[in-house]
Symmetry: C2
Subunit: 121 residues, 2 copies
Amino acid sequence: MIDRDETAPPHLREAKRQARSFERVRQAHQREVAEDYVELIADLIDVTGEARAVDLAERLGVTNATVNNTLNRLTRERHCLVRDFLMQLGDDAETAKIDAEGIEHHTSEKTLAALKRFLGR
Amino acid sequence: MIDRDETAPPHLREAKRQARSFERVRQAHQREVAEDYVELIADLIDVTGEARAVDLAERLGVTNATVNNTLNRLTRERHCLVRDFLMQLGDDAETAKIDAEGIEHHTSEKTLAALKRFLGR
DNA sequence: TACAAAAATTAGCCTCGGCTAATTTTTACG
DNA sequence: CGTAAAAATTAGCCGAGGCTAATTTTTGTA
């Protein structure tokens, strides 16, 4: 079983190529949100020494509640990333869960990106 | 009451500027979907003489059903645009509704864009 | 220290844009 | 002309990312 079927007719290959392109755009839009938050938070901390949700909301042009929901979602994603990595290393589910709690807040963006690559996400 | 308060402190003005920028990005993402459809449909008609939903789906990398839903939404938007324009011209709701039915399928993208500008959308 | 204002969180709702599965309509052809 | 295959539609689900309103927690200050 090969991934990129060189024997398929050209118009089908073209359609698949196009589909992958649109898919990448959709995924990029997803990532943008996280990146906007990271950037804004860094900027606020740089300037004011802290990053209040209320200030993020003002700068993003959304409500307080929306910022809260989004941050929850993003930190949930971060948590799962660390936990799944630990399980890949052989931790049992319970241990992975507990350790992830302790680790995740000390994990830089770079390390998180590395974990993502490692897990193939 | 003025729109852009020149007397507001600089950091608030900056926050508003940033909020508008994020808002524009969100709106741009919305428009992209419609543009992708218009472009793909034109391309398919150009090449094959027709634009089947099933082909759009393949090229967009989504399912048949998704294409159907999205097209429904977009044509609903088009319908409302024409109808609201007629009402702006003084048509009563009933007349506007009926006439929009007849008109909307003969309206080019350019005209629709003009209507949008006229209605301030 | 008490309390008012500010910030954060929670609850409940919406739309968009995805999906699968089932059904109906259209098309092509023997 | 009938029918099987293809295409389209419908029903019902999900998650992301918005909202408002209400509540709880935190913070600054008299």
